[in-house]
């Protein structure tokens, strides 16, 4: 309550008309006008913000359709619309290989992550055992660990001991052993499933595995969808991993890694570079439109629920 009185004192000198207007005869008309002004103000700001977020996409898309010469000028709109730029990029040697590698890394990696993380998250959310809290703390520590901290021993392990440098396997195989972020996010989600459902399954004679597969998994679908999306995007966007393990072997590059070398090789062709950029962005954005709800729920789950 102290807060409210404080509020009143602060507001009084600022906006005396508001209090007086409440008692006046033209209250309704004033309120309408103010509501309209408010609506206009808010939506004008909204349009301004939208321009800031959208114009970069527009500029890069327009540039991707310019001729080689025009892309070097200050023009903003193409004179001739060179849709062939996209064919040129698509047919660049290696581009399709990068696509395949990215899909393998992101697709297989996501599958392995979900399969290995769900049981761990379930145990952390629903089993009671000594060391559970410690395990959870260590999961969070792993989640916050920058990959660069352990990269030197890991590189030596994969490259010198297992001779797997020049491939993406050093990035895919670890995902079969649980991803800390996915475990954490799934655990947060599984906590929201009431224990009564699990108890009921056990009364019906289900073991833990059956309970997990038949009862928990169907209820955890939104959480699993969010984790899968995050992991897919994470692999799609990864630059450091391919740089460490695959930089010597262009046949193992991913789109994110290859894109930068594409710029290097076509350093005067901003139009082609922007076309390649659009082709790397597009799948992620299309995927987002199909799975918007799961994704936004996931972002919220990481920050707010606890």
């Amino acid at each position: 309550m102290a807060q409210l009185t404080h509020t009143k004192a602060a507001a009084a000198p600022r906006d005396p008309g508001a209090a007086a207007g409440t008692a006046g005869p033209d209250r309704a008309g004033g309120a309408d006008r103010r509501a309209l002004l408010h609506w206009i103000g808010v939506h004008a700001l909204g349009v301004a913000a939208a321009l800031f977020f959208v114009l970069p996409f527009v500029f890069l898309f327009l540039t991707s359709l310019m001729s080689d010469q025009q892309a070097l000028t200050r023009d903003l709109v193409p004179d001739t619309w060179e849709w062939g730029n996209y064919a040129k990029v698509w047919n660049t040697p290696g581009f399709l290989t990068w696509w395949r590698n990215t899909l393998l890394y992101a697709g297989l990696g996501t599958l392995l992550t979900v399969v290995s993380s769900v049981p761990v998250a379930y145990a952390l959310a629903k089993f009671r055992f000594r060391g559970r809290r410690l395990s959870l703390l260590l999961v969070i520590a792993m989640m916050m660990l920058p990959p660069q901290v352990v990269v030197i021993p890991m590189y030596l392990f994969w490259a010198k001991q297992l001779d797997l440098s020049g491939t993406l396997w050093p990035l895919i195989i670890p995902m079969a052993f649980g991803d800390a972020f996915s475990i954490f996010l799934l655990r947060q989600f599984l906590l929201t499933i009431p224990d009564e459902y699990l108890d009921a399954a056990k009364v019906d004679g289900c073991g833990e595995v059956r309970t997990l597969l038949r009862v928990v998994l169907p209820m955890a679908k939104p959480g699993i969808a969010a984790v899968a999306l995050f992991q897919f995007f994470c692999a799609w966007n990864d630059y450091f991993g391919p740089q460490i393990y695959a930089s010597d072997n262009p046949a193992a590059w991913t789109l994110s890694y290859g894109l930068e070398s594409f710029k290097g090789a076509h350093h005067t062709n901003w139009n082609l570079t922007m076309a390649a950029t659009v082709l790397v962005m597009a799948p992620v954005i299309v995927l987002f439109f199909f799975a918007q709800k799961a994704f936004v729920e996931g972002v919220t789950l990481t920050g707010v629920k606890g």
């Binding site: 409210l4 509020t7 602060a10 009084a12 290995s116 969070i140 966007n237 290097g264």
Partner: protein, 332 residues
């Protein structure tokens, strides 16, 4: 493995209770422990192989001279003193990180909160606005960085073209050591969608009655924001700040790609380049680890920098968990 799968009530009953534990009960406990171990096993292996072992190795290598070919040779604190006193890339990277922590994180949080607030007020086509605001967050970092190096290209880029058209100064952005970090900040603010969503959810959770009561008391918009909104969402602001600080310390792909592209380095296979273009202004600690380790093959020194990065990250994580017990929260 001594963990018990039974509920804590039964477990205390067993440990304090007189006499031997009945055989069926002990078997049950063992089964529960095995079950827990089985469910946890992927992560237990992952923890040992991909966290504990490499972390201990990193600590060990940091006290050795090691190039990956000849076996490591113990050299005491040489790497540590070298990094903190002589190594020319370390302190610029630390200073840049401090800049990013202060300016970039602040800009992202303020802008994220502003956009989150705006989106809760928009009544017409709210879904369209929300999607448009969120979209840049999804742009893959390499692609987004390339796009911004183009947009902020000092000679012919659209941004400088527009700035000059309205008579404003046109900075050198990624090619000017004073402007490269502001340019990265613009890029980071463009991708503020994650914070927007988190703030939006928090703002919608603020009890409506509080606003109504304040309005009856005649509180203006700013007073309502200052005395109702801010106190209600302060835990989320703290969360955004601390995770932002952690991200700033680990900032890698965007500054590296921006520096390489603006410097005209031909990307791709293991080519040597001086990181942090222009003039070390975009250098961050992870880039230093890469440079020392994988370009100069001085693994010992790289491990020292890696451990500094580790200590800073874990300090922030501890802060996050202490302030928000909720991060572990329900069920414990």
């Amino acid at each position: 493995m001594t963990s018990t799968g039974t509920s804590s009530g039964i477990a205390t009953g067993i440990t304090t209770g007189p006499g031997p534990v009945a055989p069926p009960l002990r078997a049950k406990r063992r089964r529960a422990a095995l079950r827990t171990a089985a469910f946890m096993s992927p992560w237990l292996i992952g923890f040992a192989v991909f966290f504990a072992y490499p972390l201990l190795s990193t600590v060990y290598f940091s006290f050795t001279k090691y190039d990956g070919f000849r076996p490591p040779v113990f050299n005491g604190l040489d790497n540590w003193t070298y990094v903190f006193t002589d190594y020319p890339l370390f302190w610029p990277a630390m200073r840049n990180t401090l800049w990013l922590v202060v300016v970039m994180v602040a800009c992202r949080v303020v802008f994220g909160l502003g956009v989150g607030l705006l989106i809760t007020k928009i009544k017409t086509a709210a879904g369209v606005f929300r999607t448009l605001f969120y979209l840049p967050y999804l742009a893959p970092p390499v692609a987004a960085t390339l796009a911004f190096v183009f947009l902020l290209n000092p000679g012919t880029g659209p941004v400088n073209t527009l700035l000059e058209a309205v008579g404003l100064p046109a900075p050198g952005w990624f090619t000017d050591a004073d402007w490269s970090k502001p340019a990265l900040t613009v890029l980071a603010v463009w991708g503020v969608g994650d914070l927007m969503v988190i703030f939006m959810a928090a703002l919608l959770d603020v009890p409506k009655e509080q606003y109504e009561a304040a309005e009856l008391d005649g509180a203006g918009a700013w007073a309502r924001f200052r005395h109702i909104t801010l106190p209600n969402i302060s835990p989320i602001i703290l969360f955004a700040v601390v995770t932002g600080v952690i991200q700033a310390m680990q900032y890698y792909t965007q500054p590296l790609v921006a520096g390489k592209v603006a410097a005209g380095v031909i990307g791709g296979s293991g080519q040597q380049f001086e990181p942090g273009y222009p003039d070390k202004s975009t250098l961050t600690l992870p880039q230093v680890v890469y440079n020392v380790g994988f370009q100069r093959f001085d693994y010992g020194t790289a491990c020292v920098v890696a451990l500094v990065l580790f200590a800073l990250s874990m300090a922030c994580t501890a802060l996050l968990m202490r302030r928000r017990g909720g991060l572990i929260g329900a069920g414990d």
